[in-house]
């Protein structure tokens, strides 16, 4: 038995769909029917989940720490807004893809800057790019609307058939469909040999290069893909809320995104989805307790998570489910601790 077939066996087993995953998506879909009054917040969560999934692709799988992921979100948001506002592309789905592609082009262009240097340089460059775009958007306020943002965006019906309604029902199912499709694609990507090579790069770039993985090309590819995802998330933001303002580029957005991913856990795709739900719930909770100062508690959560240790935290969270599984099924726990990044 060679080691390579062994690796292939494990990789294939991991790539298989579990019942839990199907149940997860059914529950998400069911939420759309069970809580008809909460479409707006649920759409918000879906957008955030997609955005977090995008960061997970580069952070959890490729190990690139980015402090400026909002750059792509913002570009996607403005692209979608401008396309709709000037009537260039009226069909939302097509506009969504185009906005994603615009962000993707930017991601491709900036990836060459990001793959250079070590963690700190990457942090600075990603942060710098986001700030640069924010400054640009402010500078060209005749196009972007400046601090007022783009106003008066009218969304046309999806495929020319399904109009957006004021309760956000269309928006929710539209976002859910987009999220699910992109999730399927991301799932395919991370379980492919390409995705496995990314993990190898994350664990040890030098060793990965030594066994013949073209490190830089792989990083450029995943960074570009993540930019596409973030752009789509931004475009969804504009399309479902019909506004795009300067704060899409804000540092807080990138920082919050990190928190989302840290709450959910990195490197297993569901982290972003779970994290988005928990983050929004936390935010709601904190802002009902102290409307103005919820940021304090968000900060505290971050500090505590880091001090306790993300791995330990995930073990604690999964302790009860694993115990139940062991008792009932009488076999080894199936809910594994998500692969954490070093």
């Amino acid at each position: 038995m060679s080691a390579s077939s062994d690796v292939g066996y494990h990789a294939q087993r991991q790539a298989r769909w579990h019942y839990g995953e199907a149940a997860f998506w059914l529950i998400v879909l069911a939420c759309g029917f069970v809580f008809p009054t909460r479409y707006l917040i649920m759409t918000d969560i879906l957008r955030l989940a997609l955005f977090a999934m995008s960061l997970d692709l580069i952070l959890g799988y490729a190990g690139i720490v980015s402090l400026g992921h909002a750059a792509f979100f913002g570009v996607g948001a403005y692209a979608a807004g401008l396309l709709a506002l000037h009537g260039i592309i009226n069909e939302p789905v097509l506009a969504l893809v185009v906005a994603g592609l615009v962000a993707m082009v930017l991601g491709f262009a900036t990836s060459f800057l990001v793959i250079r240097g070590v963690d700190l340089t990457r942090l600075m460059v990603t942060l710098g790019i986001a700030l640069l775009l924010e400054a640009l958007a402010e500078r060209f306020s005749n196009i972007t609307g400046g601090t007022d943002g783009l106003q008066g965006i009218e969304m046309q019906p999806i495929f020319g058939e399904i109009p957006f309604d004021m309760f956000g029902k269309t928006g929710f199912f539209y976002s859910l469909a987009v999220l699910f499709l992109l999730f399927l694609f991301a799932r395919r990507v991370v379980h492919s040999p390409f995705g496995l090579s990314l993990r190898a790069i994350k664990n040890n770039p030098l060793r990965a290069a030594a066994i013949g993985i073209p490190v830089n090309r792989r990083l450029i590819a995943i960074y570009t893909l993540a930019a596409f995802y973030a752009g789509i998330a931004g475009a969804l933001f504009t399309q479902t809320t019909a506004i795009a303002s300067l704060d899409v580029f804000a540092f807080e957005r990138s920082a919050d995104l990190m928190l989302v991913l840290v709450i959910g856990g990195t490197g297993y795709l569901y982290g972003g989805l779970v994290g988005a739900v928990l983050f929004r719930m936390l935010q709601e909770l904190f802002s009902t307790i102290t409307p103005q100062y919820w940021q304090f508690w968000i900060g505290l959560v971050l500090v505590v998570i880091v001090l306790v240790g993300r791995q330990r935290l995930h073990r604690w969270v999964l302790y009860v489910p694993n115990l139940v599984i062991r008792q009932i099924a009488g076999r080894k726990a199936v809910v594994a601790v998500p692969e954490s990044d070093a």
Binding site: G128, A135, I298, G299
Partner: protein, 289 residues
Amino acid sequence: MTSILTNLFDGVAYGMLLFVLACGLAVTLGLMNFVNLAHGAFAMAGGYVCMVLVNRMGWPFFAALPLAFVSSAAIGIVLERTLYRHLYARSHLDQVLFTIGLTFMSVAAVDYIQGSSRVFINLPAALQGQFDVFGVGIGRYRLMIIVICGLLTIGLQMVLAKTRFGSRLRAAVDDPRAASGLGINVPQVFAFTFAFGCGLAGLGGALSAEILGLDPYFPLKFMIYFLIVVTVGGSSSITGPFLASLLLGIGDVAGKYYVPKMGPFVIYTMMIVILIWRPNGLFGRTAAR
């Protein structure tokens, strides 16, 4: 011509201020390779302490400045001993998350205690206004900043170059393992330097209230500036960050004066270009750490 000189003067003052604010971060990043995004929070603490002492308790401005230093240094040492030191061995991601968390907490806490509007420190009359030297307008306050920060820089350089502590610190920066092998208590050196850096940031925060503006969002607004100083200047000496601060200060003031529409655009572009060109900073060592 005179406007160029006035701008140059303002830029130098601004740059000196940035240096005092950021040089603590240079040590944190250089010595322990610790990404401290919360550095601005210490500066803000110093600024608010000074404001409370001067405005509410009627202390003279120059008496409040040392206290701004001491209080920030005290907060720094407490946090270093209780929280920061657990994170030195962690990944950069953990450090970033932790310090972002601290920054958020400090922003909200100051907002809660002091309100969200910008605060001003009542300056003594001697520091207000400006006078002309050969037609060049020199602000008194800015002149004072240049004097104080210039003296501090010379002092720091002397301490680093001439004293025993300075050589220990330089040894620890160059190679922590070899330094501890030689019997240097690296954690202690670091704790002390960290506190001192926080104190300097606090002093800088107190001085900057007049120029940069002091409000609860100070740590977030100027985080990028501190990071630019350190990453562009490199962390192998204090000359690098010093020159980088001057460059940044002059560039920013000139940029705002001559191409006001480009705003901060110039600075960010400069930073990205420099980092691409020399990932370890303009004055840093070429070898990757």
